[in-house]
């Protein structure tokens, strides 16, 4: 948790639970949560586009000049028929793990604020 938030909180304590600053502590936590969420989503969707639409379609003809090492698969063909699907599954798995961890962190932050009587 960043220093500014802690100072905000300490100020908040002096002013009592209903001041704007208390709300802003919760608000800041919510904004942080949402920004993190958006960052994860953008990063994962970029990979999604690069693999599914990029390797599977846009660059498939060029990739087809190469073979998937150790197999007879032309690379572009492999991405379209196998690789993209495997990556899609992994992307959702990554999203679940990242988001569930973020949820827990966010939950703890709010619990903390609750204990301090700010919500």
């Amino acid at each position: 948790m960043s220093k500014t938030i802690i100072t905000q909180r300490q100020k908040g304590n002096k002013q009592g639970p209903n001041s704007d600053l208390h709300k802003s502590a919760v608000h800041a936590s919510l904004i942080r949560y949402w920004r993190k969420n958006i960052t994860f989503t953008i990063v994962l969707l970029s990979i999604w586009a690069a693999v599914g639409l990029g390797c599977g379609v846009l660059f498939a003809d060029r990739l087809n000049h190469y073979k998937l090492p150790g197999t007879a698969f032309p690379l572009g063909f492999w991405f379209a028929h196998q690789g993209s699907i495997i990556v899609f599954v992994l992307l959702i798995l990554a999203y679940c793990l990242l988001m569930n961890r973020l949820d827990t962190k966010h939950h703890n932050e709010l619990e903390q604020l609750r204990k301090e009587g700010k919500i």
Binding site: N37, T71, H81, Q82, F88, V89, N100, L110
Partner: protein, 617 residues
């Protein structure tokens, strides 16, 4: 024991399992009926979603399509799985947090408008009926081939089964039946694929077998890769190389558009989205999206292997064979008309891409049409071409060259001469795939009419009991309509599947995503964007498919956009129009803003809304 007795046993056992599940999971309230009481564990919901998603088309037709299309068949593989990434990251957790019953619920409440709700209801019903008709045909095909009953009798049996478990258990019954159906269909898909993979390449994992070398006793030479051999055969017969990208009208732009339209369409299909309402929490919604795609990928990663194996067997077991040498599977399937042979008089089968191709399918021809063509063709052969008509030219002009793609999955086990019980298992799998998807779609239709239309718009004072009764009545009615569509299939069913995805991509997907990620978007821009997306997409598909309009090139592409890919353009139009209009209209009121905040936030403001405490319920 023969194939038919094995089929009877498998179908009998699986149907009694479905019915017992229905009895044990019958429900008494609307929450149970529409969203299974929100008590479904993530992994079970993942399986149910997978079964719901994998329709008769995925199970029976997709591998066949890939088999005929090679690389280009990947549009279906990537499109129908990539959509789940969009669904998991952009839609599922948020809609779960929103916590009502249906997709029109979200659109109506977020945009605070009954017009938006009605547009969504109409789309949901249209998309679902389009889809259901295809499922019923699948049930008919399986029954008529494997149990040799009349297609209509097969459809009626299927309808009765769905009717019982859907009306009794609603979403709860459907969910748990789908879990069972997932196992039936995936086992039935994997076992033959593994068996064939071992036979052809000696490798038990089909995905690896696909990229390995052929067994020497099958290929005749040492160390030639399956895909390489397939490319060679294809070229010899005048087809495009199997692994080649961008052949014919499938140029890069078209492949790209179709993949994107299928992805966005998948993420916007109501029967898939509602499955995420049935789990306990936002966290479970995310996990069930993961499980769903994992279970789906079991089939989708195997289908390309089955496709290539089938292509190899199909060509090798037919070409150059005489009547006496023709394999049994050919004779079995010739009866269904899905594969036909019209000889040029030399007594040997030739399946190729050129004018001397002799393998056809019946398509939409009636038995009488075929008899006329065959008689005339026989006369043509007998008289050495002076009388009668060359049936091959007639069939080619009708666009019926090559076997029907549906036989690929259903006949491959027979082509590879697998055991009878494996062949019978495939039949049970096909039925499971068709029935599970049909029941999910029927529930969406029922919910759209009895919940969105009746309860939310016409009579908000309806009691719990009235709503449940209406839900059951509508689902019963929808089953009958779907059955009629299966018995009297409208000629355009296969063509309008593009519709389902195009409309979902152009309407639901942008509107839901903007509703969650952009608080500024208000009623008027959203409704305008949705209507423009729908009207544009519908206009393009209808004129292209039914009035033979040339696909548009938009002045920049070499080849016009395939109607299957037009949803991509419709989706972009929807996004652009909604965002531009948003600049000129006021942001939505405080109530809607708060709702968006609530949807974005899994914790803190409170756990996912429970139906009982939600204000409107």
């Amino acid at each position: 024991m023969n194939i038919q007795s094995w089929t009877l046993i498998f179908v009998g056992i699986s149907f009694s399992v479905y019915l017992s599940i229905a009895w044990f999971s019958r429900v008494r309230d609307t929450k149970g009926f529409y969203v299974a009481g929100r008590g479904v564990p993530a992994i079970a919901n993942g399986m149910a979603t997978a079964a719901d998603w994998m329709s008769a088309a995925s199970y029976i037709s997709m591998a066949g399509l890939i088999s005929m299309m090679g690389y280009t068949g990947g549009v279906y593989l990537m499109g129908w799985t990539g959509g789940y990434v969009l669904l998991a990251l952009l839609i599922a957790p948020y809609l779960r947090k929103f916590g009502h019953f249906t997709v029109p619920d979200f659109i109506g409440d977020r945009y605070n408008s009954n017009v938006a709700r009605l547009v969504a209801v109409v789309c949901a019903i249209f998309v679902s009926f389009t889809y259901v008709a295809g499922q019923m045909r699948g049930v008919g095909v399986v029954f008529s081939r494997f149990l040799e009953v009349d297609v209509n009798v097969g459809v009626i049996i299927g309808m009765v089964i769905v009717f019982i478990y859907a009306t009794l258990g609603g979403m709860k019954g459907i969910t748990w039946t789908q879990v069972a159906q997932y196992w039936v269909l995936i086992t039935a898909f994997l076992i033959p694929a593994i068996a064939i993979s071992i036979k052809l390449t000696g490798h038990p994992i089909p995905q690896i077998g696909l990229g390995s070398t052929l067994e020497p006793e099958i290929a005749g030479t040492h160390g030639i890769a399956l895909l390489e051999k397939l490319n060679q055969i294809q070229v010899d017969l005048g087809f495009d190389r199997y692994t080649d990208t961008f052949v014919g009208s499938w140029n890069k732009v078209n492949v790209f558009c179709v993949v994107l339209a299928l992805m966005a369409g998948t993420a916007g299909l109501p029967h898939v989205i509602v499955r995420f309402y049935t789990v306990k929490s936002v966290k479970a919604a995310r996990w069930s999206a993961f499980w769903a795609l994992l279970f789906i990928s079991m089939l989708y990663l195997t289908a390309p292997a089955t496709a290539a194996f089938a292509r190899y067997y199909m060509i090798q077991s037919l070409n150059g064979k005489t009547v006496e040498q023709l394999p049994d599977w050919f004779q079995n399937w010739e009866k269904t008309g899905l594969i036909l042979w019209m000889d040029d008089g030399d007594g040997m089968v030739r399946y190729c891409a050129g004018v001397d191709n002799e393998i056809f399918r019946n398509g939409k021809l009636t038995t009488n049409d075929l008899i006329v063509i065959n008689r005339s063709h026989q006369k043509w052969i007998d008289t050495g071409g002076t009388e009668g008509n060359d049936g091959r030219i007639v069939m080619r002009q009708k666009g019926l060259s090559g076997p029907d793609r549906d036989i690929i999955v259903l006949a491959t086990p027979e082509m590879a001469e697998l055991a009878d019980w494996i062949i019978a298992l495939v039949a049970a799998g096909g039925l499971a795939a068709a029935l599970s998807t049909a029941s999910g779609l029927l529930l969406v239709i029922s919910a759209s009419i009895s919940h969105d239309l009746y309860y939310r718009v016409i009579n908000p004072k309806a009691t719990e009991k009235q709503r449940l009764l209406l839900g059951r009545t509508v689902i019963g009615f929808a089953v009958v309509v779907a059955g009629l569509l299966g018995i009297y299939p409208p000629g355009f069913v296969s063509q309008v599947v593009a519709f389902a995805f195009g409309l979902a991509a152009a309407s639901f997907f942008p509107t839901i995503v903007l509703g969650i990620f952009n608080k500024r978007v208000g009623t008027v821009p959203a409704v305008c964007g949705m209507l423009v997306g729908i009207v544009f997409t519908a206009y393009y598909i209808i004129t292209c498919v039914f009035f033979e309009m040339d696909p548009w090139t938009f002045g920049i592409f070499e080849i016009g956009i395939n109607p299957q890919g037009i949803g991509t353009v419709g989706m972009l139009l929807n996004f652009v129009i909604t965002l531009i209009l948003t600049l000129f209209f006021r942001a939505p009121g405080k109530k809607v803003q708060n709702m968006v905040d609530l949807v974005r936030e899994p914790e803190g403001v409170g756990p996912a809304i429970e139906i009982e405490t939600a204000p409107e319920h």
